[in-house]
């Protein structure tokens, strides 16, 4: 019902004749803009983009759009109503974006975290979350008193596995005794399960909780238990002011502004962008004051080094979990390896599910 209403409002908005020089940008989201995580991050960027361009751009959103027929219908309607560029902000929209893009060659399509690019009017974009995980790992390694980090993971896909590896390597670098306890929830969003997982990890000795799931439940549990945690995708400080050390905050605004600008200038071309600290696409939420000044400076320096391209979080020598060599001394992980990562690095004791 909500979807129908939103769609109706949307089509009414799109039907009003716009000035010829107004660029229309449509956004479709998998979740509600109020999820305090992933979708909230994309909508924050949309608002900043709209603010940046003022009257020159007109944006519209449809939230809670399911993958498949729903997504196709919404995007088709956007395209028919004269939208110039459509941002599809979830991995699973891939087939739908490609099917609609084939029918509307004059509309620019931007698909987040996708991998299918069958038409020349589809751009893919993703963020190098593993760069942020390196910083979290460093902080966790320094802050933990029990030498145990609890990690709540969603699905064993390359982005999540790379995140665990990156965090582990950097925690290990500053704390050789570090141990990671990992729980897979097989869901992006299940507050009760994430809360249980956090409680279990804390019970088993973890005093820093890291999550790659979208709800704010784990932060809440960590706050109650008096341990530390990191937010996900957005600054989650308000859910646990003491527990929340920092978070990897998605900041798609600079990218959205540049892409809409390209559409305006008529220079838009299909790309495949994988952006990180250097592009300002991910950034760290303000450090919690409980982190020692020295550690805050180290974390700042690490972010700066990665952003400047002086340091890559996956720099050899790194072995796979089974002891076979992956990266030689000084070798930097190729993007291809990271995008298909399906193994833990040496030192992680848990076994990776298939």
């Amino acid at each position: 019902m909500k979807k129908l209403l939103t769609a109706a409002v949307l089509s009414a908005a799109l039907a009003t004749p716009a000035l010829a020089d107004t660029t229309k940008a449509g956004f479709i989201y998998i979740g509600p803009v109020g999820d305090f995580g992933w979708t909230a991050g994309h909508d924050r960027a949309r608002q900043q983009m709209a603010e940046h361009f003022g009257d020159a751009v007109e944006t519209s959103i449809v939230e809670n759009v399911d993958y498949g027929a729903d997504a196709e219908r919404v995007m088709t309607q956007m395209a028919i109503s004269g939208t110039d560029v459509i941002f599809a902000a979830s991995f699973g929209y891939g087939p739908d974006v490609n099917s609609v893009a084939g029918r509307f060659p004059d509309v620019a399509f931007q698909h987040a975290t996708g991998y299918i690019q069958d038409h020349p009017n589809i751009s893919l974009y993703d963020a190098r979350f593993y760069e942020g995980r390196a910083v979290l790992g460093h902080i966790a390694g320094k802050m933990t008193e029990t030498d145990t980090v609890g990690y709540i993971a969603s699905f064993p896909i390359p982005a999540v596995i790379a995140g665990i590896n990156s965090a582990y390597l950097h925690a290990k670098a500053v704390n050789p005794d570090i141990q990671f306890r990992i729980i897979w929830t097989y869901s992006w969003f299940d507050p009760a399960l994430e809360a249980d997982a956090a409680e279990t990890l804390i019970e088993q000795g973890a005093d820093v909780i890291m999550q790659h799931t979208d709800s704010t439940a784990a932060i809440r549990v960590a706050e109650d238990a008096g341990v530390m945690a990191f937010g996900q995708a957005s600054d989650m400080t308000q859910f646990g002011p003491n527990a929340h050390l920092t978070a990897i905050v998605d900041n798609w605004a600079p990218y959205y502004i540049s892409r809409v600008q390209a559409v305006m200038d008529g220079t838009w071309e299909a790309q495949n962008s994988w952006l990180g600290f250097a592009d300002g696409i991910i950034e760290m939420a303000p450090w919690n004051d409980r982190m020692p000044t020295e550690l805050q400076e180290e974390a700042d320096a690490l972010v700066a080094a990665i952003a400047a391209g002086e340091y890559h979080p996956f720099t050899g020598p790194i072995n796979r979990q089974d002891g076979t060599p992956w990266l030689a001394e000084g070798e930097v992980a190729p993007d291809g390896d990271l995008a298909t990562m399906d193994f833990y690095v040496e030192g992680i004791t848990a076994e990776l599910p298939n």
Partner: protein, 310 residues
């Protein structure tokens, strides 16, 4: 393998907490189904309870009033279901599904202003010396009042269905509504009351999630707990104590797999999470074979609409 890091007493305690929301919802739905009504809207009533309970608790500062509000919220949605299925004679399955969708949408709207707020604490019940008993104290006697209430509720429902006159009438209505009607019982009234009870219980279960287990309000936060409760009723073959055992088994599977994973034990999470549902499907298959129906205790008039003229 670091199994030593798992503390059985804590495991037991966590299991009881994990099981409480589904147990509450299941015991309510059990009574509804015993009266011959299949309400698939448990998920919708649970999320309604989670949302209303949270809002009331935050505004009054009292978790107990919050739980009362949650029960009323669940009942409000159940009343809608009763109106549709008992007065307007709509299809129970379709109405129940619609109720779930409606509940999810409505609460997303109602709860918008309440995201990111911390609800008032629900205190643990002070059981004095009992809580100090080694092992047992940590496992059983350091919970909040709702955990014990859910067990009391199971006992009460068991007694009600088995020994009370009203309970026997309710069962008669569920087993054969024509016969009950012929005996002069008001089939619709019994069913409406049962549906309302089911709504109240589901509401309490939902509020347990938002006020104690998580504790915060997030849109869609029940994520399928209502469906597990529905499966649980079948799994328990409509017997209250089995529902309790089933809920603890379901909860136990969840808590155990989390603990094993955290301890670094490689387990096939998918299969373990799947097992309660597999057993439920098995029970359903046996029931639908006809022969097994009676032996498995399914109410005879379940999901059959009743009209006094028929």
């Amino acid at each position: 393998m670091i199994l030593g890091s798992i503390n059985p007493a804590v495991l037991m305690a966590a299991l009881m907490v994990a099981a409480t929301p589904i147990l509450l919802a299941a015991i309510g739905e059990l009574v509804v189904e015993k009266a011959g009504v299949l309400n698939l809207g448990v998920e919708g009533m649970m999320i309604m309870g989670a949302c209303i309970g949270f809002i009331v608790a935050v505004n009054t500062g009292s978790p107990l009033i919050g739980f009362a509000g949650a029960a009323l919220g669940g009942m409000a949605l159940a009343l809608l279901f009763a109106l549709l299925t008992q007065a307007l004679m709509t299809n129970q399955v379709a109405s129940g599904l619609a109720l779930t969708l409606f509940g999810l949408g409505l609460t997303a709207l109602l709860g918008q202003q309440y995201v990111g707020i911390t609800p008032p604490r629900t205190p643990r019940l002070d059981l004095g010396p009992l809580a100090e008993i080694p092992f047992l104290g940590r496992a059983f006697f350091r919970h909040d009042i709702v955990v014990y209430l859910s067990i009391v509720l199971v006992a009460a429902v068991w007694w009600f269905l088995k020994y009370s006159r009203a309970g026997m009438i309710l069962r008669a209505v569920g087993e054969n509504h024509d016969a009950a009607h012929a005996l002069g019982y008001n089939v619709k009234r019994v069913r409406v009351l049962a549906i309302l009870f089911g709504g109240a219980c589901a509401g309490l279960g939902g509020a347990y999630l938002s006020l104690i287990r998580v504790p915060q309000w997030t849109e869609g936060m029940t994520v399928g707990a209502g469906w597990i409760a529905l499966a649980l009723v079948v799994f328990a073959s409509w017997r209250p104590w089995r529902a309790l055992a089933g809920a603890y088994l379901f909860g136990g599977v969840v808590v155990l797999q989390l603990n094993l994973q955290a301890a670094g034990v490689r387990i096939p999470v998918e299969y373990l999470s799947m097992s309660p549902y597999l057993i439920t499907i098995l029970v359903l298959v046996i029931i639908s074979s006809g022969k097994g129906r009676g032996s498995l205790n399914a109410p005879g008039s379940l999901n059959r609409p009743f009209h006094a003229s028929s």
